[in-house]
């Protein structure tokens, strides 16, 4: 397992595209951080300052870049099939289960690391933007623990969904369509389903970022977990039993 992990990390770190995507996400985070800070209505209510700018910078960064994480996670498995390296990956390991678990660990670790770095960039950019627009950084209610938990889970869910869809579908076009189109369809369906729409897959993943903000959210988060577990089970069964 340790050898497989080392190899998977090397796979990720020896491709220039890894750094290009990570750099692009960091750049996007800086842009989002500045925009959020500059355009934040700091004094919407006279005498009351908007203290949520830094939190918003992180949340906006995550929600804007999250689809990229899902697609890159999917590519981590699909590229192996596309370039024929899956044969090496499987024969080097004694079990396909090990390959499956290794992929999850490495994809999650790399994705979360990039997401964390991007969030830090967003906060730094927002801090500078805030100072430039006359806001007070010290008055910001920056909930580090809450953000790490909520946004960390949010990103993790998307990474896992992208990865499992890759295992199941083996087609990046279909994965991209699902990741971009299904959330839009879910949003539209809320016109009909009203409150029930929050239990749809991608809507429920979004609720993960709001754990603890209301008792009603807990049920939605539970549904999100069930979706991910179902995808994981489907992905594992197909990966183990299908031709490589």
């Amino acid at each position: 397992m340790f050898n497989a992990l080392k190899s998977e990390f090397t796979k990720t770190l020896t491709l220039r595209s890894t750094y290009i995507v990570a750099g692009a996400i960091a750049l996007l985070a800086v842009l989002i951080g500045v925009i959020v800070a500059v355009f934040a209505d700091i004094t919407a209510t006279p005498g009351v300052e908007n203290t949520d700018v830094l939190n918003s910078a992180v949340q906006s960064t995550v929600s804007t870049t999250i689809a990229i994480f899902a697609i890159v996670a999917s590519l981590s498995i699909l590229n192996e099939y596309r370039h024929g390296t899956m044969a090496y990956t499987i024969t080097a390991s004694r079990s396909r289960y090990t390959v499956f678990i290794t992929k999850i660990i490495v994809t999650l670790a790399c994705g979360l690391a990039v997401s964390l770095i991007a969030s830090i960039f967003a906060v730094l950019a927002a801090t500078i933007g805030l100072a430039a627009s006359g806001g007070s950084v010290s008055s910001q209610a920056f909930d580090v623990g809450g953000l790490l938990l909520h946004e960390g889970l949010h990103v993790s869910f998307y990474i896992l969904v992208g990865l499992f869809l890759g295992f199941i579908l083996r087609n990046i076009i279909i994965v991209i369509v699902i990741i971009f189109v299904v959330p839009a369809v879910e949003n539209l369906s809320s016109l009909v389903l009203k409150e029930g729409a929050q239990y749809l897959p991608f809507s429920s993943f979004g609720a993960v970022g709001r754990i603890g903000e209301g008792a009603a959210d807990f049920g939605v988060v539970l549904v999100a977990f069930v979706y991910v577990l179902a995808l994981a089970a489907g992905a594992l069964v197909l990966f183990v039993n299908r031709d490589a």
Partner: protein
């Protein structure tokens, strides 16, 4: 020793590998032949557990997944282009080495061995087929495995590369290792392999030594040319010896070249040409697989 037992693989109702069993002996190169679509690659993938098939394959009596480090038991080359085109050759091998706990020093050793040290840091996406094959061979031998399974390793190699591959494989098996290698380069296979497995339409056609396979297609005919073919033909008919006119001579079966030469001497006929039929692997292969061609081209010139 690799022992494949009752390998069967189907896609829907189409059986592409049908109950094939064979042994790849230690110390020998076993050639794996068959027409296009015969099921060679599928058989190799099934042997490695890449395709889910019925039957089993044992490596020295043990399934591959039960070996401590499978890459040190069997090295594979299934597709020359099995690499990420943007990851350098050295990093590609580094990934494979790490996955199997192989020391990284081995990466440069195999790159030197296959002659790719000059392009080790280049991205293999633009490698020629021959260079890609060399990288594939480097990957296969990275873990110094006891067994090699190579699918068309000579494709795209230049003459020097083919010569190197032949020598390398002969040396590889000389220490008790085994090699299963498929190829459509039959003249090369004839020089390379000790044993042959031939399949067609997913079923076993032959599983024997190279020599006996070629001999099995040999009719034992002798070609003879002399000054009076009609007289010779009459004498052969009188002696009930089977013959057939061919080009500007006669092809005789049922007698050896020694016997035929003695007969010509007895008849006082000069021998202008006398040659025992020399069957090649290609002749034998085409004869054996005549009814097992999945895809058959239109005869030449009928475009």
């Amino acid at each position: 020793m690799i022992t494949a037992q009752n390998l069967t693989k189907s896609y829907g109702t189409k059986v592409v590998v049908n109950n094939i069993s064979f042994v790849v002996e230690d110390g020998k190169i076993t050639g794996f032949l068959g027409p296009n679509g015969a099921g060679k690659s599928t058989t190799m993938r099934a042997m490695l557990g890449l395709d889910n098939a019925l039957g089993s394959t044992l490596y020295d009596g043990v399934p591959l997944t039960q070996h401590e480090s499978p890459s040190k038991v069997v090295g594979i080359l299934l597709d020359a282009k099995s690499f990420h085109p943007k990851r350098s050759a050295r990093n590609h091998l580094k990934v494979l080495a790490q996955a199997s706990g192989i020391p990284l020093s081995r990466v440069d050793e195999v790159l030197t061995l296959v002659g790719l040290q000059e392009v080790a840091n280049k991205k293999p996406g633009k490698f020629s087929l021959g260079m890609a094959q060399r990288l594939g061979i480097a990957a296969a031998i990275l873990g110094q495995p006891k067994h090699l399974i190579l699918d068309e390793p000579a494709n795209g190699l230049d003459p020097e590369g083919i010569h190197w591959l032949r020598d390398f494989l002969h040396q590889y098996v000389s220490t008790g290792n085994s090699v299963l290698v498929s190829s459509h380069l039959l003249s090369e296979m004839q020089l390379m392999a000790h044993n042959l497995i031939v399949i067609g339409k997913g079923t076993m056609i032959a599983n024997q030594s190279m020599e006996s396979f070629i001999q099995s297609a040999n009719t034992g005919a002798v070609f003879v040319r002399t000054t009076d073919l009609n007289a010779l033909a009459n004498h052969l008919t009188e002696r009930k010896i089977v013959w057939v006119g061919e080009r500007n001579g006669i092809k005789v079966t049922g007698v050896t070249s020694d016997q035929l030469s003695a007969l010509l001497f007895e008849l006082g006929m000069p021998v202008l040409e006398l040659a025992a039929e020399n069957v090649s692997l290609e002749d034998a292969f085409l004869k054996m697989t005549a009814n097992a061609q999945e895809y058959r081209a239109t005869p030449g010139g009928q475009a």
